[in-house]
Amino acid sequence: MELIKENSLWKDAFKRLTKDKWALISLIIVLAYALVAIMAALGIVASDWAREVGAGNLPPSSEHWFGTDMFGRSVLAKVVRGTQIAMSVGLAASLIAIPIGVTLGALAGYFGGWVDDLITWLYTTFSSIPNIMLLISITMILGKGIFAVYIALGLTSWVTLCRLIRGEVMKHKEREYVQAAGAIGGGHLRKLFLHILPNVTHIIIINTSLQFQFAIKSEVILSYLGLGVQGEPSWGTMIDDAKLELSRGVWWQLASATFAMFLVVLAFNLLGDALRDSLDPKLKGK
């Protein structure tokens, strides 16, 4: 008998992922952003974003690639710094929304009955209140700042995921492979978490990729409403500044922030799709 190497869904999901060039590029982009974010957080890069590097509102040039803002700060530095905010907002929001959404959705879908009723009620209630209202009020309550933004976005965006997961779990729990798991003596937890959940990961993945862009974009709106991040340059505030700058022909803040956003959103989209496909063994090799 020849020896066979271990492998698991995620292992060869990754193997397959690396075969798809678009996915790979996206992955690299996302990782790059993450890296930048981390370095910014650790103060390795752009720690001196607040320093004046030249006169105010200088257009892009050889020494200031992205130009400077009204205070003569390097827009490049601000974009980099903003990356940290954007990524952390996306991450935190997802880290809050996904556990809540998945667990509640899974429980509701799997157990049905009053559990389902309760959870359905919960998310109906939540989703029936206008998102923007929740966002604003929560940020108001928690006081301004990045942390409030995390919570607000997290708490407002678990709903969609919850609904989706619930539906999928309902479908899957009827499948024979789940009953088979029961037949060999598997308990509820095993059925739910080892059997059903792996079969709905793709939804979580896609949702996360949307989650990220939703978070990043909401940060912009919140900044417009003055509820955004403070004392730190964020893409949101940079775009918000444009409101006053564009009329003076100062376009580079807007442009750079927008481009930074576009790139990462695009990467997340493509990566999300690719990851979903690679997580589906059926599409192996396709």
């Binding site: 492998n7 492979y177 003596g185 063994p281 059926k282």
Partner: protein, 576 residues
């Protein structure tokens, strides 16, 4: 053949562009279909039957499918050279097709009447009204009860058999010259199978259509085909007149196909399989006479008397929801007052048409569905009400092999994960490696290659998947196994292998089976006792042979008569 041929396929080759590279699905296939005649294509799953037919229809998935060579002449014109619009005039008009999967091949959101009428409207200049009437008329012809009303139904409101009839009506709507039927009956159970076959045959006569009939079951073809084309591993291995083939099959694979279908008359110890006639490479083997000796089960199996399982007045019902707040208003008795006893080491067969409660009964016994009343005594112990922990221990002794091998395997788990899971749950074996080894051993025993262990379910053929399910069921070394339609979904050739496997395992581990199937001949082959189920009740129960020789219930007789005979004259000895 003297009659000018309507369709003639000349050295057709079809390749598929896949991630692993190019795979050849059809290799150099040629055959002719004379006007008004029926050609049957037989061959195991994956041999290229559907692809061939799709090629004729010009429905192959572009760009995945490539046709490097060959021509398909229809009335002398090469269809492969036709452009899209030309092809559209042919499709559904001159040539039409009935697909393998009646369940999914109809559009769920349109009335069946409309779906039939649509075909007509595409090709005939007639008003919607006329088209509709024609559709109703067609539904009448294919024998759908009260067509005028049924035409307004949606697919999900019809039974499998009726759906298939709608597909047929759709196919013959424009009185095509050629009708392609791709395994029109595999998905149906015997009784319906029979009706559909008769219907197709009748229609073919009536409209003087030529027909290309695809199946993996020679027995089915015997009744209707004029000529038979046998495909094996994407090649045509044998062509012959239908009568001839049954007497003078030349190619070992064909012989295998003929031999491996269990016959009601005979009770071989094991079934012959294709592999008995040829080895992997396809080289013919000589069949040892010992293998085909007919024997009598009674004398063969040692009389065991110890009762393993006793079921008393078992009732399992499903709530019917309704009322204002979706309360349960009534109950549907899927299993209705069933009682029987089963001796250790024996096999109880359960037959009955779809929906009669076989599966539910099987699952109730294992407490996968909670029985509503009655009692289940296993090994002298009443297990009707034992609780979770105890139940989990019971699972080690009682196992089930599910009806659908595919959907009962988690698509996102590798086979090794699937096989070792039971061991993990019950803490059998102390190391990962040890468990893996146990898995390998059994995997090997069910005749699969160990190096496939970390593939995913979809990467196996139907037969292989079924073996995997069996292996999983046996991982915990159970003493009692419920086999729910374990072979209905398989080709006859593979069916035979699986049946043999089950028998061998029973010999080796002294297993006790409940074997569920709607195919009497299969049950008759494997079971010692047979219970005939109808509407949740066991209406007749007796020794297998008795049931077959003198059935008491009319329903049982109906079941029996439905079994396709092939050419029953042919008997095995003629093969050796």
């Amino acid at each position: 053949m003297t009659t000018p041929s309507l369709l003639s396929v000349r050295n057709l080759v079809v390749d598929f562009q896949t991630g692993e590279g190019i795979t050849r699905a059809v290799n150099n296939v040629s055959f002719d279909i004379p006007a008004g005649k029926t050609i049957g294509i037989v061959g195991e799953s994956g041999s290229g039957k559907s692809v061939t037919s799709l090629a004729v229809m010009g429905l192959l998935q572009k760009p995945a499918a490539i046709i490097p060579q060959g021509e398909i002449l229809f009335n002398g014109q090469d269809l492969l050279k036709f452009n899209d619009s030309q092809m559209r005039d042919i499709r559904g008009n001159q040539i039409s097709m009935i697909f393998q999967e009646p369940m999914t091949s109809l559009n769920p959101v349109f009335k069946v009447g409309d779906q039939i009428a649509e075909t007509i409207r595409i090709h005939r200049k007639i008003s919607n009204k006329e088209a509709w009437d024609r559709a109703v008329d067609l539904m009448n012809q294919v024998g759908i009860p009260n067509p005028a009303a049924s035409a307004h139904k949606y697919p999900h409101e019809m039974s499998g058999g009726q759906k298939q009839r709608v597909m047929i009506a759709m196919a013959i709507a424009c009185e095509p010259k050629l009708l392609i039927a791709d395994e029109p009956t595999t998905a149906l159970d015997v009784t319906i199978q029979k009706q559909v076959l008769d219907l197709l045959f009748g229609l073919q006569q009536k409209y003087h259509m030529s027909m290309l009939f695809i199946t993996h079951d020679l027995g089915v073809i015997g009744d209707i085909a004029d000529d038979v084309v046998v495909m094996y591993r994407s090649n045509v291995v044998e062509k012959n007149n239908a009568k001839e083939i049954f007497y003078t099959a030349k190619h070992p694979y064909t012989k295998g196909l003929l031999a491996c279908r269990p016959k009601l008359g005979a009770n071989p110890r094991r079934l012959l399989t294709v592999s008995d006639f040829m080895d992997e490479a396809g080289i013919e083997k000589h069949v040892s006479a010992e293998r085909v000796v007919v024997f009598d089960k009674e004398s063969e199996k040692e009389k065991s008397s110890e009762i393993l399982l006793e079921v008393k007045n078992l009732v399992t019902q499903f709530p019917i929801k309704g009322g204002f707040f979706g309360r349960t208003v009534d109950h549907f008795k899927a299993v209705n007052d069933v009682s029987f006893t089963l001796k250790k080491g024996k096999t109880l067969g359960l037959v009955g048409e779809s929906g009669c409660g076989k599966t539910t009964l099987g699952r109730s016994i294992l407490r996968l569905v909670e029985p509503s009343s009655g009692s289940i005594i296993y090994g002298g112990k009443d297990i009707t009400h034992v609780y979770a922990e105890e139940l989990r221990l019971l699972r080690r002794k009682m196992q089930i092999i599910f009806q659908d091998p595919y959907s009962s395997l988690n698509p996102r788990m590798t086979i090794s994960e699937i096989l070792t899971e039971p061991l993990n749950i019950h803490k059998v074996g102390n190391s990962k490696q040890e468990r893996l080894d146990m898995a390998k051993e059994l995997f090997d025993k069910v005749g699969l290659k160990v190096n496939q262990l970390n593939r995913y379910p979809h990467e196996f053929s139907g037969g292989q998947r079924q073996r995997i399910c069996i292996a999983r069921a046996l991982m915990l070394r159970p003493e009692f196994v419920v086999c729910d339609e374990s072979v209905s979904a398989l080709d006859v050739s593979i069916q035979a292998q699986v049946l043999n496997l089950l028998l061998d395992l029973q010999q080796e581990f002294g297993l006790t089976y409940i074997f569920i199937s709607h195919d009497l001949s299969v049950v008759n082959f494997i079971a010692d006792e047979v219970g005939v189920m109808n509407g949740g009740k066991i209406i007749e129960m007796d020794k297998a042979n008795n049931i077959y020789k003198n059935p008491k219930e009319a329903y049982t007789r109906a079941l029996l008569s439905a079994i396709p005979k092939g050419l029953v004259k042919s008997d095995l000895s003629s093969l050796v």
